[in-house]
């Protein structure tokens, strides 16, 4: 009850504060609502920014992120293929702090008390929140592949951009001519459905230039290519005949790090570079709220507000959330969900109903070579009867063909989404 009155004090006079831009802090300084955002990827960083932007600074936002800098997974396959630098995909959080007034805390979360509404950090700080938004991304289920744990240096995943990205690039560069580069893809759902196939393309692109007798083996636990299938197959046939070999229904059982051997259900593959993308689940920070996980892996949310079921004041977005139908786990989608969350949080803090008809859309570009890319797009509307987002029928779709024009569009997409998320 006291809290509600505080919210009304802080937010109820929205229009009054809007009319007094220079004096907004006067009325609200007594107590501003506080939103704690955990995870500074595409979802969390966008949410932090838009919460500040859309509240005209009337809501305090603390972003907890353990890494000092933002390293983009989208475009990181270009780094692996030797076509871009790490600097290109590395960005800092200064814009969120300096331009938007987000408080940045580079620390790890050790505990969350959803009753006392408190987040505890490894450094000892305790953050009290009015609403909590978790955007923890993915964690790997490394234990699902025997022999993999502790051998990330020998068998990189490079599925979270950073040191692993460079490591995989270096292993590719050091691979002997005529060598075998094997990628293993886990069963869906996983982060960035077209990503593994883009990676195979860009590794082949690199090999064509530097090691033309190399082999790129795509070992897929799934029955088929998970995204842009026809476009990838056409590009592989045209650009890398006899270099990329695709083997579906190939579940990985164990690995031997010493010999870089993958033991699959039906064969053993010894590779010169072995890139295992492990099965994935919600980032483990999500475990701290004690929510039920769908299939033991993803946090179910109410998509109208992104609130976690039966967990008042706690929201989850991004790859960690159990997606609505045909909603991909992508940075673009996390950024879009962040805006749904930010709008809903501000409405709820002001005791107003959330937007009853939110929309999200996804655009995902994939490179098939250094000079050519293609897209898949979709638009999703909130359906009140189904109580979830549904793809708008007749909207979205694929490129007709991969092209240089779309490679330029992909670069423009990256510049803009990085700026929209962090700038």
């Amino acid at each position: 009850m006291i809290d509600r009155r505080h919210f009304l004090t802080a937010l109820g006079a929205t229009t009054a504060a809007a009319a007094l831009p220079g004096c907004a802090s006067l009325g609200a300084s007594a107590r501003k609502a506080h939103v704690v955002v955990v995870g500074g990827g595409f979802g969390g960083a966008s949410a932090a920014k838009y919460l500040r932007l859309w509240s005209d600074g009337r809501v305090r936002v603390t972003l907890v992120e353990r890494n000092a800098r933002f390293i983009s997974c989208p475009m990181s396959n270009l780094v692996i293929g030797g076509l871009q630098s790490m600097a290109h995909i590395t960005h800092d959080y200064a814009g969120l702090r300096d331009r938007h007034g987000v408080r940045l805390v580079h620390d790890s979360v050790t505990a969350i008390d959803t009753v006392a509404r408190e987040v505890r950090l490894a450094g000892g700080e305790r953050l009290h929140y009015d609403r909590l938004l978790l955007s923890p991304g993915i964690d790997f289920m490394t234990e699902a592949v025997e022999g993999l744990a502790g051998h990330e240096d020998r068998i990189p995943h490079a599925w979270k951009a950073g040191e692993q990205t460079l490591l995989l690039h270096r292993q590719l560069a050091a691979m002997p001519e005529g060598g075998v580069f094997a990628i293993h893809i886990p069963k869906a759902p996983f982060r960035c459905p077209p990503g593994p196939y883009e990676r195979a393309s860009l590794v082949a692109d690199y090999c064509l230039r530097h090691k033309p007798r190399a082999k790129v083996l795509v070992l897929d636990a799934n029955a088929d290519i998970q995204s842009k299938k026809g476009l990838f197959l056409a590009a592989w046939k045209a650009r890398y005949p006899n270099m990329i070999e695709y083997r579906p229904n190939n579940q990985l059982l164990s690995v031997d790090a010493a010999t870089r051997t993958a033991r699959l259900e039906f064969e053993d593959v010894k590779a010169d570079v072995l890139n295992v993308i492990p099965p994935q689940r919600a980032g483990r920070v999500a475990d701290l709220i004690g929510s039920h996980l769908a299939n033991g892996r993803w946090v179910p949310v109410n998509w109208l507000t992104t609130e976690v079921a039966d967990m008042p004041n706690v929201h989850v977005i991004g790859d960690a959330a159990l997606p609505a139908p045909r909603m991909p786990k992508s940075g673009h989608m996390a950024n879009q969900q962040a805006k749904v969350a930010a709008a809903a949080i501000l409405q709820m803090l002001a005791d107003q109903p959330p937007n009853p008809a939110p929309m999200v859309m996804n655009t995902c570009y994939s490179f098939v070579g250094s000079d050519s890319a293609m897209h898949v797009a979709s638009v999703h509307r909130f359906d009140a009867a189904e109580n979830t987002f549904l793809p708008v029928e007749g909207a979205g779709g694929l490129s007709a063909v991969a092209s240089p024009a779309e490679a330029a569009a992909a670069q423009a997409w990256a510049r803009n989404i990085w700026a929209d998320t962090l700038g």
Binding site: T14, T15, A16, A18, A19, L20, C23, K49, Y50, L53, W54, H332, N335, Q336, K339, V340, A343, L346, Q347, Q352, N355, A357, P358, M359, V360, M361, T363, H375, A377, S378, V379, H380, R381, V392, G394, A395, G396, G397, S399, S403, A405, E406, A408, A409, Q411, A412, W413, R415, N416, I417, W418, A419, D420, G423
Partner: protein, 107 residues
């Protein structure tokens, strides 16, 4: 001078307070719709480069374009697929929102 600003601000506050509820909801809905464009066209339509800035584009100009993408009359690599995901009313809200934004310097 300060006093005058204060008085004007109070007057503005008074005027804005009454219809705030319904109007506020419509505004935030349009804002949220327009924000779905920001990943490619920049926050509030201020492109970071390589795409069109939508901020400050006259409403009718932008709406005609979006409608042409939606109907397929205007060829595109991707915008025809995206525009079909929105109703004509939503496209009009989006166009109205961007028209009201300060134009981008780099336009």
């Amino acid at each position: 001078m300060l006093k005058r600003i204060w008085i004007l601000s109070l007057a503005g506050m008074w005027a804005a307070a009454a219809p705030a509820h319904a109007q506020g909801m419509a505004d935030t809905t349009a804002r949220s719709l327009a924000a779905t464009c920001a990943n490619c066209h920049g926050t509030n339509g201020h492109s970071a480069g390589g795409t069109e800035s939508l901020a400050g584009v006259p409403r009718d100009t932008l709406l005609r374009k979006l409608e042409a993408f939606r109907s397929g009359e205007k060829p595109a690599t991707i915008m025809h697929q995206i525009a079909r995901g929105y109703t004509p009313e939503q496209l009009a809200q989006i166009a109205t929102y961007f028209a009201a934004q300060r134009p981008s310097a780099r336009n």
